[in-house]
Amino acid sequence: MSAKSIHEADGKALLAHFLSKAPVWAEQQPINTFEMGTPKLASLTFEDGVAPEQIFAAAEKTYPWLLESGAKFVAKPDQLIKRRGKAGLLVLNKSWEECKPWIAERAAKPINVEGIDGVLRTFLVEPFVPHDQKHEYYINIHSVREGDWILFYHEGGVDVGDVDAKAAKILIPVDIENEYPSNATLTKELLAHVPEDQHQTLLDFINRLYAVYVDLQFTYLEINPLVVIPTAQGVEVHYLDLAGKLDQTAEFECGPKWAAARSPAALGQVVTIDAGSTKVSIDAGPAMVFPAPFGRELSKEEAYIAELDSKTGASLKLTVLNAKGRIWTLVAGGGASVVYADAIASAGFADELANYGEYSGAPNETQTYEYAKTVLDLMTRGDAHPEGKVLFIGGGIANFTQVGSTFKGIIRAFRDYQSSLHNHKVKIYVRRGGPNWQEGLRLIKSAGDELNLPMEIYGPDMHVSGIVPLALLGKRPKNVKPFGTGPSTEASTPLGV
């Protein structure tokens, strides 16, 4: 749970729905309301084995405006890819008939973008907005400890360059109720290079955009280009390209709002009602989606752990870095897990590190079992590696997580995967401390003996990640004995009672 990127389509939907609704902090209400009408955002998702024609046909039903005659569109993948124009992942000013083959050619196919391999699965099609280069602006809002920075540059577009250096900027302090800058200040600080006839519109837009940013708990929002076109009636504002991050931890406050902007009604979708479905959704629309970064599609297993994580007060994280890697980790603690990854990388085995993950916050035996089972399953797939594999069961000295019960969960998983662990010649290294660690280590030791798993076990007298150089480089620290061999690991009672 942290700040997470969202689809461009969702970002635009949020703006369309809330620009006119979010409470504005400026001293006076903006003149322009930016009632956006119903947004036109056709989001297409391509799964393996589904013909593109099928997806297009469904889209035409849901978004009838795709079939309007003479309409021109923009099509692009919507998967958190930066600089799409430069990578040739953008078509402009094309009819729907022209967009379809362009998308079909790329959909569900692997591609390399700036050195990252991934599969294009989600595309966004929206109406093309003809405009002059001179009407393009750049705006960015992002949060820092002291407040929220608004960056504005009067020449937006793909070639905007180093905005950090050249954009006009202003810091909105945290206490917006009392310290929100005046319109005069905003105009002076941000709009100095903008024609005066556009000041009012842009000022109103910035005030409203910032209101949305606050109300929906964005942590990052960038629009480039932001297009302001003078018309006979006044001006039109369009946000052509948008990248945003929401604070996922704020879901309990903002979830219903996020969902409302994604409801079929807000998006103008034509919904064919499925009579058989009686599921009642808890909010006005579907819950916000937080896609994985491009090139890192969530595997089934990662998605499963993410779901487990969201259902408990404990923390369970799993990221597969290299499914063919020889080194796997099963580490407790947000800090310790990073320390382990560091140790493996600094021993020169970054390429062999298969996963990053952690479990913490006192998960119970069953949760740990499910987690461990998933890792063991992943590491024992495919053909055995001739050099065998290494599993680190590590962790710091826990503050309150019960080592005994979490280890019981791991041992249950060992029993399920005993023969696979043998086939893959998995060598196991254990280091752990904390409540009931003696019992936990004793249990895992006897399970290792019983299941005939090669294992080296250490308690808190070993450095937290000391088993990594021990296993990978053969560095054995002085004066540290494996569990069950030295005096420090006798089944002691707390405080020598």
């Binding site: 942290s2 800090g335 990073v338 990053y356 069953t366």
Partner: protein, 650 residues
């Protein structure tokens, strides 16, 4: 010794001024916000082994609490902690408290902390919750900054100051506190991002130096309330701190503030530092580590850049984190050799009694259980009825009869037996409103009582005269049969003893006008039971009795009772002794009570539906043997003072 004598009570300590760099001292008093008995006990145990005079927890604030005090251990004795529902009351009662350990959830921690910030007496607030929205965290820290309050967290375990104060669960269990010598101060103060790793630092520091002076975990979120620099400046100002340890992390720029302070001479004490997450730059795609704040948004925020910058600013930065103990040990020895630090003499390792539940978990002690239960178990993944998981109960569709056989007899009985149990429940469910049980229920309901009272009023009439025929019939018939008495002998013996035979006789039904319920039971039993010896015996007895009077038939109670004995004796699931025990323990009464409860509840609901009023029995339906008139007259005459007249009349 009475329980009361074992409870220690403490007066509020007298306040004295402490320098600003001291967040905690050995008279610090705190509130724990939220019901966290384990954390509270951990804090009190820590206080006790640090030989504090007073517990560090003055009270608990729990907005949902109805409880007024909570009992905690103070060493081997006990003490009482007050529980307050309002911050206002707690603050007024304990003006000496200046620390709050806030265990409120990520959803409610914002409002509770904002409220706490309204009370100027609180100088330090630790926020434990993980997942506090970043905007809210910033609002908290902004307001706290304005008011000069130190926030530790969110998303942290807290911090510890050996000999003085322990925030919540910091430092782990008591055995770890002792192993890492956290009961007495050393000279090394640390600040860490990670709460889990802070305990690791306790371990490292205690093994390589004279121990921890103070340690704070600022929390893994993007916007911790206070950061490295806030605490390191305190450590710099505190003359008792000699070495500073900083454990940073990839993400954020807070380490650079410390670098700046070192560069401009604000911080002069040696700093041993490491930023974890050096591996991040070796991964191809961005990885969100366990901490929300641990993601580099620019090169500056990578662990590598931070380590390099700290090293070039003169920090003691090891090559890898594994080398940190060595670097720390070297620095410490060097300072001792130079005389900048003097070794301390170890105090005696304190002892604290082990908690009962913990000792039990460790397998150190045992005690006889006060209760034993052999029929159901709710402790595991699934509820078990006599070992059968509840999901199986439904998958195999064993019905009420099956559940009864599991819970009453701890075994699966054959299907016909379960069916028979259900049949009994259905047959005994109700017998009209006029029987005494139903009458009692109805009258109680009409007096305005609730369902349970009305049901129980009806059930309490069940005994030998009402509903008890089942038990009696089973006993009498079985005894006679087992003694080998012929049916006629049995009837004769009973008559000689002037006893009615339970289970024989009906008000209206007779041989020629049979009771359908009895016919149902007979049919089912004859068709399904392996043996029907007692039913056959009872039918023979009926032959004898009906020859005397037509309505002395085997009634439904009798039929059920003898059939039930047949069932227990012949289904193969019970030994002879078990059968006797079950009958002696009133299992048949149980059947009647369970069945009739259905009817009694029905009568209660019926009366409620009809909205009937209080029932009062008419006078004319009661024969008053002591005449009302006589009493009335007597009273009048007495009050008139004419006692002698009264005598003559009575």
């Amino acid at each position: 010794m009475s329980a009361n004598e074992n409870i220690s009570r403490f007066d509020a300590p007298v306040g004295k001024e402490h320098p600003a760099y001291e967040l905690f001292h050995n008279h610090t008093r705190s509130f724990v916000y939220g019901l966290q008995p384990r954390a509270c006990q951990g804090m009190l145990d820590f206080d006790f082994i640090c030989k504090r005079e007073n517990p560090s927890v003055a009270g608990v604030i729990y907005p949902f609490g109805g409880q007024f005090v909570t009992k905690m251990y103070w060493g081997t004795k006990e003490t009482l902690l007050p529980v307050y529902q309002q911050v206002e009351k707690a603050a007024a009662k304990h003006p000496e408290v200046d620390v709050v350990v806030n265990f409120a959830s990520s959803r409610s921690v914002y409002s509770s902390t904002m409220e706490l910030l309204e009370y100027p007496q609180f100088r330090t607030i630790a926020i434990i919750a993980e997942g506090v929205p970043e905007r809210r965290a910033r609002e908290i820290l902004h307001k706290a900054q304005k008011k000069g309050v130190t926030i530790i967290g969110p998303a942290t375990v807290g911090g510890i100051k050996p000999g003085c104060f322990k925030v919540g669960n910091t430092g782990g269990m008591m055995d770890n506190i002792v192993a890492s010598k956290l009961y007495r101060p050393g000279s090394v103060a640390y600040v860490s991002k990670s709460g889990g790793m802070s305990n690791e630092l306790n371990n490292i520091i205690s093994h390589t130096t004279d121990g921890v002076y103070e340690g704070i975990a600022i929390g893994g979120d993007r916007y911790p309330g206070t950061t490295f620099i806030d605490h390191i400046l305190r450590y710099e100002a505190d003359p008792k701190c000699k070495i500073i340890v900083l454990l940073g992390e990839v993400g954020g720029v807070e380490e650079y503030r410390v670098i700046e302070a070192v560069k401009n001479g604000q911080i002069k004490k040696p700093i041993v530092a490491w930023a974890i997450g050096t591996c991040a730059s070796m991964f191809k795609t961005e990885v969100q580590f366990g901490h929300a704040g641990s993601m580099a948004n620019s090169d500056l925020e990578t662990a590598k850049a931070k380590n390099a910058a700290m090293k070039s600013a003169g920090f003691y930065v090891p090559d890898t984190f594994e080398d940190m103990p060595e670097v720390l040990a070297e620095l410490y020895e060097k300072m001792v050799a130079k005389g900048e630090l003097s070794r301390i003499s170890e105090p005696e390792v304190p002892k604290i009694p082990i908690d009962y539940s913990w000792a039990q978990e460790l397998g150190l002690i045992r005690k006889p259980a006060a209760f034993i239960s052999t029929i159901s178990d709710d402790r595991g993944q699934e509820l078990l009825y006599a070992g059968m998981p509840i999901s199986e109960v439904f998958k195999e569709d064993i019905g009420i009869g099956g559940v009864m056989s599991l819970l009453w007899f701890r075994r699966r009985l054959p299907d016909y037996a379960s069916k028979f149990l259900e049949m009994v429940l259905m047959l005994t469910a109700d017998h009209g409103p006029a029987v005494s049980g139903a009458m009692n229920t109805i009258i109680t309901t009409r007096a305005g009582k609730d369902l349970i009272s009305s049901l129980v009023a009806g059930l309490l009439t069940i005994g030998t005269r009402f509903g008890g025929a089942l038990d009696g019939a089973a006993t009498e018939f079985t005894t006679a049969y087992d003694k080998g008495l012929s049916p006629r002998q049995f009837v004769d013996t009973m008559r000689k003893q002037n006893k009615l035979i339970p289970g024989i006789g009906h008000r209206v039904k007779s041989r020629n006008n049979p009771d359908f319920r009895v016919e149902l039971v007979k049919d089912f039993v004859k068709k399904n039971f392996p043996s029907t010896q007692l039913l056959d015996y009872a039918l023979a007895v009926e032959e004898v009795t009906t020859s005397k009077k037509d309505n002395l038939i085997l009634n439904v109670d009798g039929a059920i009772a003898v059939s039930f004995v047949d069932l227990m004796r012949s289904c193969g699931a019970f030994t002879v002794e078990e059968t006797e025990d079950y009958l002696k323990n009133g299992v048949l009464n149980g059947l009647f009570v369970l069945g009739r409860s259905i009817g009694l509840i029905a009568h209660h609901l019926d009366q409620k539906r009809l909205k009937t009023g209080l029932y009062r029995h008419p006078w004319d339906d009661i024969t008053y043997l002591v005449g009302q008139e006589a009493i009335q007259k007597k009273r009048v005459e007495i009050s008139a003072g004419d006692v002698s007249k009264a005598k003559t009349r009575s």
